[in-house]
């Protein structure tokens, strides 16, 4: 245990050494971390509950009030504080995005590893499933799925439905990426050596394949998160979110439903839009930088640090 901890600290320190030099990566990390912090501490950051109605002295609800001291981002059509909604919406958006993203990452990695490692019939089956999902247009499929599941009245919360549908549709690119990586890794000599030692498939996948693709999985997950958050916003904007637990997409849906635009209430629709951009941009920046830093294809770890590599074996005797 002790040496694992030492190693972990050392690896982390090494990672940080390169990462901190990357401005885009730092910016991405900043955007992602701030939004996570806001979501975590939402109740402490919001002056009101999202459902509180702000009233004037006469007790009338302040509808479409422009930003002012008591409502930092103004109010919506019903007199709710937009800032409080935005901060609480971060919780919903990020929760759905993260959970869907992790499901997608898990399914995609599993399919990719099994297809790539075992090849043959397993590969064929899994990749045909992937192909089918890949050719069906996502948006109509999701709309139909979400609507159908709702019709069934299964007493599943709408957010759970969203998480499941997004998570189970957005793993295909991960699966293909991981599969192609596994295909090259399994041909490498250290895998043959593990087989020659007598290692079984489970051992080889855990100890030899997974450690090579883990960085890729991490980077890809961050990228998938941005997609998941974006898709969630899209679906919620189309009215498929949970109106009792509004995410940023739901806020946009409300804003457009209740003619925030014609009322000139930019403080109602602009903040959730920008918040979505904030998070997804953060994830994309961070994900791309991580991928660049960690992708085994781009760094070729094993070739580093030794010039002897160029001594090509003699071509035998000619």
């Amino acid at each position: 245990m002790n040496e694992n901890w030492t190693l972990f600290k050392r690896n982390l320190a090494e990672f940080w050494k390169t990462f901190r030099k990357n401005r885009l990566g730092l910016l991405g990390a900043f955007l992602v971390i701030t939004s996570i912090l806001v979501a975590t501490f939402a109740p402490w950051l919001s002056p009101y509950s999202p459902s509180d109605i702000i009233r004037d002295e006469g007790g009338h609800g302040l509808t479409f009030a422009s930003p002012a001291v008591h409502a930092p981002l103004g109010t919506d059509d019903a007199g709710h504080d937009v800032w409080s909604q935005l901060v609480h919406g971060a919780r919903i958006s990020l929760m759905v995005g993260f959970m869907a993203g992790f499901i997608a990452m898990f399914v995609g990695s599993l399919f990719g590893i099994l297809a790539g490692y075992f090849g043959g019939a397993v590969d064929n089956l899994l990749m045909r499933i992937t192909d089918i999902l890949l050719v069906i247009p996502d948006l109509p499929l999701m709309l139909i799925l979400v609507a159908t599941i709702r019709q069934l009245d299964l007493k599943i919360s709408p957010l759970t439905v969203l998480i499941a549908v997004i998570g189970l549709l957005y793993w295909t690119s991960t699966a293909r990426l991981i599969r192609s990586q596994v295909l090259t890794i399994k041909e490498r000599q250290f895998v043959a050596r593990a087989r020659a030692i007598g290692a079984g498939h489970g051992h080889i996948i855990r100890k030899h394949i997974l450690p090579q693709i883990m960085p890729l999985i991490v980077a890809n997950t961050v990228l998938i998160l941005s997609t998941a958050i974006l898709v969630e916003s899209g679906l919620a904007f189309l009215g498929l979110g949970d109106p009792t637990k509004p995410s940023w997409g739901t806020m946009l849906n409300f804003a457009f439903d209740r003619s925030a635009v014609t009322n000139g209430a930019w403080w109602f629709y602009l903040p959730p839009g920008l918040a979505i951009v904030w998070v997804t941009l953060g994830c994309v920046l961070l994900g791309n930088v991580l991928e660049e830093m960690l992708n085994p294809r781009l760094t070729a770890h094993h070739l580093e640090g030794d010039q002897n590599m160029v001594t090509v074996p003699g071509k035998g005797v000619e």
Binding site: Q189, G200, K207, H301, L303, G314
Partner: protein, 357 residues
């Protein structure tokens, strides 16, 4: 007489070539890369057998088949008189048009079988490329301990570390603790090959199969690694199949020598004897191009003409005849049988019998 530790009988390994759709439709018979085409040899305990030959003659394929990474197309591998290899699944071997005449189903062998797992405790392979044969994301401790973990040996942490330490120190990495937490990319090529050797020796196997263990290394460190292997053989009594394309390392190291050409052994015998009195023209050509330290003693070099024929369409008769400097018309027709030069030294060449070479 007891059985030899390792016996290989008529080993064949053909790789089928993917056919194009048109060939399939025309029912053209499948082509094969005849990587190993009827190889037999034995190895005693503590003995070093060098297998020498040009690139592509099937050396690595023999090694991979011995350790069970490839399934032989035909032939028998006996380890302590027990068969190894997955040949029970090879009822389909009958589908392969073997030149040995082995078409049709082969009679069932009645020899006891050794499980792959047991074989892999007793035989270990050293791969050619130390830059590729170590998992870049595993520490040296994990790498050397892996065989113990895989075989469920030395379960206690203390014992495992002790065995890893011994193996590393025997492989010349001292003090071993300094290497435990390092990654392969922090080591030099020679050090990495020592790690590979340590990991192969941690189970104390009886047989090492070393596939060109030094060809990827800097010339300056080759001798060190060869010395290490020689010491291990002396101290541990381990037998070694030493694969190389470099005849100059053979004299130094091997007891016996097998010269391969296009999937076959063409000459075999005690290393000194073969080097001093080569019979097959191919062996002679190989020996003639070994660099000699004293330029005044330079031998006449036999430079072979032409390319190695591809192992798909092998030449008829003697497979060496298109490049043989002393070939006769007969050589294109007759596949030369073994000719005993001495009781332990044999060569497969028609013209030995005629007394010419």
């Amino acid at each position: 007489m007891t059985a030899p530790m390792l016996e290989v009988r008529n080993l064949y390994k053909y790789f089928p070539i993917r056919q194009s759709l048109t060939d399939l439709l025309r029912r053209k018979p499948a082509d094969y890369v005849k990587a190993v085409d009827g190889v037999s040899f034995t190895l005693e305990r503590g003995e070093v057998l060098a297998v020498v030959g040009e690139s592509g003659c099937g050396k690595t394929t023999i090694a991979r088949t011995l350790i069970g990474l490839e399934e032989q197309t035909d032939g028998e591998i006996l380890f302590h008189n027990e068969t190894v290899g997955a040949h029970e699944r090879r009822a389909r071997a009958g589908l392969v048009p073997l030149e040995s005449g082995g078409v049709g189903t082969r009679e069932q062998q009645v020899l006891p079988r050794m499980s792959m797992k047991r074989l892999r405790q007793q035989a270990q392979m050293i791969f050619q490329d130390p830059y590729e044969s170590l998992n870049p994301r595993a520490t040296i401790l994990e790498i050397v301990a892996e065989p113990l973990v895989v075989h469920g040996l030395a379960r206690g942490r203390e014992e495992r570390i002790a065995r890893v330490k011994t193996a590393l120190e025997e492989a010349g990495l001292r003090p071993a603790e300094d290497y435990f937490l390092r990654y392969p990319h922090e080591l030099s090529g020679g050090q990495r090959q020592r790690v590979v050797i340590a990991s192969a020796m941690v189970l104390q196997p009886e047989l090492l199969i070393a596939d060109e263990p030094v060809s990827m290394l800097d010339v300056s460190i080759r001798a060190e690694i060869l010395n290490l292997l020689r010491d291990l053989r002396q101290k541990r009594g381990v037998s070694i199949v030493f694969i190389t394309h470099d005849l100059s390392t053979v004299a130094y190291f091997a007891d016996r020598l097998a010269v391969m050409y296009l999937g076959r052994i063409v000459e075999t015998g005690p290393a000194r004897e073969v080097l001093a009195n080569p019979q097959h023209p191919y062996t002679r050509a190989l020996i003639s191009v070994i660099p000699v330290p004293n330029p005044r003693q330079r031998r006449e070099r036999v430079i072979l003409q032409g390319e190695t024929p591809n192992p798909i369409d092998l030449p008829t008769g003697c497979r060496f005849h298109p490049r043989c400097p002393i070939a006769t018309a007969e050589c294109g027709k007759i596949d030369p049988p073994w000719h005993a030069v001495s009781p332990t030294h044999q060569a497969a060449c028609l013209r030995i019998e005629q007394g010419t070479p």
